[in-house]
């Protein structure tokens, strides 16, 4: 079941209440109708008074173990049974089980002749008998105002009615009296003066060709109650009152992240994707790929084994499936497994409140973790922008409380400023992805940009948004000298620059080769010079050696010659030294 909404009506400690079992009504009344007291349900014809009263009885009998008596003044038992059979209430069965007693009181003016004084003891007897026969704790009188039409003595009638309500109180049964709205503020004959403990008014309005049912608690003695009008709808389960969701911002938040289904998009969102329980808005012009992103998100959720509710207001499920298959997302297996549920309806078939109530019901029954609404702007078809805004606020609040991640798509019109959207919920959402078209060079390409994403570091870069057979792909945009380029312009520019780069590369290589060559040449020259130098050196060395050698030879020759000349001069000093007193 849904989490208890914070801020719901505080349970009243003083007054005992009889729960109605009607979806949402017990929450608004803080527990149900006043026990042991009469409640007046008034409204114009066809508002759902009888249905509400009947549900009160039937649910009391089946869910709360309190048998009930239905005193019908307008429809026969048979008619009643037939009318509510479609809601799954089998009145015959309940009567058989003694959980319900139906007594049809026919008040036909032409049949009565009044002569003298009388009282309505007959009614009391019947009521008493019916109550005692099944031990009823709940009673419905629908519509006791027919008595006014049948009997002419007003004084007696009014006196008896007063007595009746006192009697009902004494009997301790919780009674629901229905009355039809007439000229008086509440009921045609002023029943409200007798029934003063609780008055509920039903309303069925048609605005802009759309009908909405509303319920209002006009009076409820002894309890604080919401005094607003609450929209409700009547569907195959009976009456469904829009519950009071917290309109205060008290809800728990999660730090868990969920993938968007597109890995590069996750990278743009701080690396991990959206926060669980947050609200994501994708806005863009027609055909920009919002639904594709939604489908990716749905597919990712189903892959994680989470239930996803897809509310489509423009395309039928079949169409969606087919279109998504063309980009490589097959949602049909998820649908078959029961993880993905589509709910497609034109926005204009209901009023806004009815949409809200329907969504509430779907969420309650299906318990998804992801809800996709595509597109959100269609709500303005059924209400003013302000009303649509209010409705979206309530919806987003409701989903946040349930910790359901919401994915909304919104259409921006091509000519309006790109950041205005039909329903100004941009301040309510946590993550806003903007899909834009860039027109350049004869074509339009899409770029995606994370306009905001609360609570995470997100990329501020534009990425080119491509729909391929493998799904959505994001590519870096090209920043050329002329600005942002996408699509074929990008490709053209890329190839141009590639060519230029290649050329430069070749140039560099060429230059390098040249340098190599020159170095080699230089080295060769050096080598040659060196060799030359060596050769010269050798030559010189040889020459020197020659000179040396010749000098040596010369010296030797001289020596020889000296020796051969027996030159004393050279020898005598030596000899004279040697021989003492020798000959000089």
């Amino acid at each position: 079941m849904s989490k208890a909404p914070a801020g719901r009506m505080p349970p009243n400690r003083g007054l005992a209440k009889a729960p109605t079992g009607v979806q949402g009504l017990d929450e608004i009344t803080g527990g149900g109708l006043p026990r042991g007291r009469p409640t007046l349900v008034c409204g114009s014809a066809g508002c759902g008074k009888t249905l509400l009263a009947l549900e009160f009885l039937v649910r009391g009998a089946t869910q709360f173990g309190e048998p009930g008596v239905f005193m019908a003044f307008e429809e026969t038992g048979k008619e009643l049974t037939e009318n509510v059979r479609s809601l799954g209430f089998d009145l015959d069965d309940l009567v058989k089980q003694k959980k319900l007693a139906i007594d049809f009181v026919r008040v036909e003016r032409t049949e009565y002749e009044e002569s003298g004084e009388y009282d309505l003891e007959g009614l009391f007897v019947r009521l008493n008998y019916a109550i005692d026969s099944i031990g009823a704790k709940r009673v419905v009188l629908d519509t006791i105002e027919t008595l006014f039409g049948g009997l002419s003595n007003m004084a007696i009638l009014r006196g008896e009615l007063r007595r009746l309500f006192r009697w009902l109180k004494d009997k301790g049964v919780t009674a629901v009296i229905t009355g039809e709205t007439g000229d008086g503020p509440f009921t045609r004959h002023g029943l409200e003066e007798y029934v003063s403990d609780c008055v509920i008014q039903l309303d069925h309005r048609v605005e802009n060709q759309v009908s909405t049912r509303r319920l209002r608690i006009v009076k409820y003695r002894g309890t604080t109650h919401g005094t607003n009008e609450y929209p409700f709808l009547i569907d195959e389960d009976g009456i469904n009152v829009l519950p009071v969701t917290s309109l205060g911002l008290q809800h728990t938040v999660s730090s868990e992240r969920v993938s968007s289904g597109v890995p590069r998009l996750d990278m743009m969102l701080g690396g991990e994707g959206y926060f669980r329980g947050s609200t994501v808005l994708v806005s863009g012009t027609a055909g920009s790929g919002k639904t594709s992103l939604a489908a990716h998100f749905a597919a990712a959720a189903c892959l994680r084994g989470e239930r996803c509710l897809y509310l489509a207001f423009e395309e039928s499920p079949g169409q969606l499936l087919r279109n998504m298959r063309s980009i490589g997302i097959d949602l049909e297996p998820s649908m078959k497994k029961g993880l993905l549920q589509f709910h497609a309806s034109r926005a204009s078939i209901h009023g806004l409140e009815m949409h809200l109530a329907t969504i509430h019901k779907l969420v309650r029954e299906f318990q998804p973790r992801v809800v996709i609404m595509d597109p959100v702007g269609s709500m303005t078809a059924v209400g003013t922008r302000r009303d649509a805004n209010v409705m979206m606020t309530r919806l987003i609040d409701f989903l946040k409380i349930q910790e359901i991640t919401a994915f909304l798509t919104s259409l921006t019109s091509g000519d309006a400023a790109l950041e205005t959207i039909d329903v100004e919920i941009s301040s309510l959402v946590d993550t806003w992805l903007l899909l834009r078209d860039l027109e350049l060079g004869g074509e339009r390409n899409r770029v995606i940009n994370v306009l905001k994403s609360r609570g995470m570091a997100h990329s501020n870069q534009l990425r080119e948004f491509l729909l391929t057979e493998r799904g959505v792909e994001l590519q870096d945009v090209y920043l050329g000298a002329e600005g942002v380029l996408t699509g074929s312009a990008r490709q053209g520019q890329e190839s141009r620059e590639k060519a230029v780069a290649m050329l430069r590369q070749q140039e560099v290589e060429g230059k390098q080769r040249e340098r190599e060559r020159r170095r080699e040449a230089l080295e060769a020259r050096i080598l040659a010079l060196q060799k030359e130098f060596e050769a010269e050196e050798e030559e010189a060395m040889r020459l020197m050696a020659q000179v040396h050698a010749s000098q040596e030879v010369l010296g030797k020759d001289r020596e020889e010659m000296g020796r051969s000349r027996k030159s004393d001069a050279s020898e005598t000093p030596a000899r004279s030294r040697k021989a003492p007193g020798g000959r000089k």
Binding site: V107, E117, L120, R126
Partner: protein
């Protein structure tokens, strides 16, 4: 004031022979209240005057037989239901207004009423 001596269910049918049609009247009461007693008395008187010898009055006390109230669609007490001759006619009240009662029972008030 004649006390209602007859317990519920007992018919009061004076002898009548060769009746054109016998009127069957049912008087519903809820306990012996002054009003109920008055109604019975008035009814009896009326029948004696206009339907002498060809009527049957049945008194049903809803206090003792509450389940019979729904069958005949009894709302007000006292109620006289003319069961025969058909169609069904109902008069509510203590029948103190003789004229209305006669109109209600579709008894043409005899001009030569006593």
């Amino acid at each position: 004031m004649t006390a209602l001596a007859e317990p519920a269910g007992r018919k009061v049918a004076p002898a009548g022979a060769g009746d054109a049609e016998v009127w069957e009247l049912r008087l519903y009461i809820a306990g012996q209240t002054p009003r109920s007693v008055a109604a019975f008395a008035n009814l009896k008187k009326l029948c004696e005057e206009h339907l002498a010898g060809r009527y049957k009055i049945e008194v049903i006390d809803l206090m003792e037989h509450p389940q019979l109230a729904a069958g005949d669609q009894i709302l007000a007490i006292p109620t006289v239901v003319r069961r025969l001759p058909t169609p069904l006619r109902r008069i509510v009240g203590d029948l103190s207004n003789m004229e209305r009662t006669l109109v209600g029972l579709e008894l043409r008030p005899a001009k030569s009423v006593k």
